[in-house]
Amino acid sequence: MRGKRRILILDDEPIVCERLKPALEKSGFEVETYTDSQKVIDRLTEEKFDVLVTDLKMQGPDGIDVLRFAREHAPATKVIIITGFATVETAREAMRSGAADFIPKPFKITQLRDLIVSLTGGRTD
């Protein structure tokens, strides 16, 4: 029996991390949040995560860079893209690069939670 599902969240807007962490923890996930994409790249090589939730536009490596890194080095990690600049083109690009799903901001916490639950096949094993 495994422990809690592990979620990694990356958004350069601190408010997004501040809101998602307690809400997803309440739903039974283990959550780490970062505003710096390089740190997330480091974490992906260090440990295993079930889901990565990442913003698209950021300083340094952007969301697509992080997504591609995750696909290559942590293929078991499902990636969800969240962005405030949602166009059909960015969505297509994200899905082509291997994102599991794409959610435009603003989104409901429950919407993201339900998506994570369906991607991981439940909250805990």
Binding site: E25, P106, T110
Partner: protein, 867 residues
Amino acid sequence: MGSIWRRVTGKRRPEEAVEAVRRRIEGLRDLVERNNEVLELIAKAGEMLGGEYVFDRNTLATLAQELEAATRAVVFDLNAITGDRYPELVDALKRADASVRATLESRLFVPEADVVMPLEDVGEELVDTVGEKMARLGSLKKLEGCRVPDGFVVTAYATRIFLERAGVAPVIERWRSGSTAEREAGLEALSGELRARLLAAELPKELSRAVRKALEDLRRKGGDGAVAVRSSAIGEDGELSYAGQYDTRLGVAGGEVLEAYREVVASLFSTRVMRYRQSAGLDAAQGLMAVGCLAMVAARASGVVYTLDPADPLRRVLQIAAARGLGRAVVEGSHAVDRFEVSREAPHGVLFRALAEKDEIWAVGAAGRVERGAIPAAQRSLPSVSDEELGSLAGTALRIERFMKAAQDIEWAIDGKGRLFVVQSRPLRLAAAAPEAGRDLAGMERLYPVLMKGRGVVACRGVGSGPVHVVTGTEEPDAVPPGVVLVARTSSPRLAAAVAQSAAVITDIGTSTSHLAAIAREFRVPAIVDAGIATQALRDAGEVTVDAEENVVYAGCVRELLDEQLLRRATFSDTPEFRLLRRMLRKIAPLNLKNPRGPNFFAQNCATYHDIIRFAHEKAMEELVEGHRLVPRPGDRSFRRLELPVPLDLLVIDLGGGVRPAEGPGPLEPGRIASGPLQAIIEGLRTEGVWATGPADMDLDGFMSSLTRSEALTDQMGTRPDLNVAIVAADYLNLSLRLGYHFNIVESFLSESRNDNYIYFRFTGGVTEMTRRARRATLLRRILAEHDFIVEGSGDLVIGRVKKIPFEGMVERLRMIGRLIGYTRQLDILLRDDRSVERFVRSFLEGKYDVVSGRDEEDERRRRGTR
């Protein structure tokens, strides 16, 4: 009112008239659509504040753009429909745009207001005028069980005038034009110069006059006229982060209030505050405040209470600091004070006490002045407050916490008579990281019995706990005690007042767009609607906890969830994004123009986007009222008279797809109506018993049917005909009925996609005198509200709207309106007294329609009795 409509229909050929109708209806439909779009954006913004959504600053900028565009379209449509009759609305739109943009760019925007306002008249909605501190204090003054000193507020508008007259702006501009190094070097000089100007400048006459008058009013209410003069900052990051930065003057005698006001205002530009703004990335010299003047409490003891331990909130204790006399020692932290920890559970026992050696006391002396005195050695270690007082202080503090929905930092004072006063309350900043150990909130279902799960829809997120209170249909809402989990059969708006005071709300029936759900969101009361079985399942549940996030109801009080919510709220609700959204919403969402009959219902009075679209919608509807004076000519095939088995002449104009084609000319039978909304209304009209035709009331009926029979087609007298017209399309209805002197519009869009669905119901007039008309309006309001309509209007005007209802629910409500039209047709005459309103409402809701024909039991009895 001159109408293009009338001109068009009067002069042109009938086909063109119908074409004109079509164009106008299309314009109206676009307006309604855009109007709904704006309402949706406003609702979404409101929901975002409720904590459902994750968003950032960019989201807010996008939201503002979308609102601006959609509102502009509404204004454009109205002017297109009416031939540019409302140019003032374009100006109002520009003003609304400017104020929202100013908010987004964090510029201060001060609405015009009175220069002085009594404290009891202010509340959260006036935060831009009176500042956060006084706005909160004003709402607490209205809160039961919370005593706040009398007082008044010198508004930000008054301060702005004062700053202008004192010539502050040019001095700041000169400073701003310097290089970064020059500005830094010149900051102290700037502060000195601004202060000197503010202390020397003449106060605006209207300001000094209003303050003197307010002081007189205060003296009349009792007390010696001495006041505390307190800053109440406007905008920026609010007073929370500025705590203690601005001046406060205690014990100011009446004659010195104006000087104290200057001093407090001058603290806007103290070097310390300007450096603080700079360090927060704000414009150093931009600031504004309102100033509160509160009657001094002759305090025997005073201090501060925190509703949680900010360093370790999960300890679940109240922390109280107290000193004898005025709270100066406590707030300034300058002298030893008594410290207590008190349980959050009634009766709030004292868990910890540390009594200090208190050698001096600040107290209100002669003429209200604050004086320092020595405490005799024998009394120095006595507690400044009794355990009983600590208990009542805890009770009041928790009541405020419940009302504010967040942990609080409260300044209090107890006077010589033992009365407890609250002089300030603000959100308590808690340690951001709560202890994680052992926290498994997803595991609550294993620890507490689940009474209900996944039933219905969450209308307002949050967690609330309390004893279940089931409301039956007839119970008076006053009987609902505060702090309960309110469980009701329907989301009747009668419960609005009770909801505001409840810990949580659950209804069996209802939608998240109902008035009740909106009230729940406004007061941040966790709410689940449409739960089906709640009144049954929870009837004997006793204490429960409602988790309106995961949509679960637990037996008992689930501390873990309640704690988590209190912490989470405190840590996110004062983030810059939430503050910005709150400020934006204040420029967007308030509705000032509620009553189309009100004296302020003019385009130039529209202050918010909500005002603008409401005004535009109402005027567009009025335009249609005018429009129905069109006269069909003999042989005009566009108007078809509908054959109904009830005495109602209805002409149908089909815009396309609303009527099935027939072989021959002949009359239009109800079976050929393809318009969904009209079909449903006709079904309602034909409900048995609704269209009363009792033999006992032949005269009355005859009288009424002579009014309801429109004589349009046979009118030989040249008088203006009254027409009942239904303009239809497959999914659309615009029905206008002139029954007697009543005027009734029903507009509806009905489709499988619930988000597009709406019903607009508007009723005015009546053949009888005003009181009976008003009774009829009351009856309509009651019945509409029971069916989830949001109801407005005054006197004999009734406006009801409902939207986003699924197809079946829409059909049900449209049928209800059909029945209602028949049922109320002649009610004015029967509405003899206010009691009869209740009786007729009840009969209608119970499906007993034949009371109107005079055969209801009460009348029957009366008749038998007289025989």
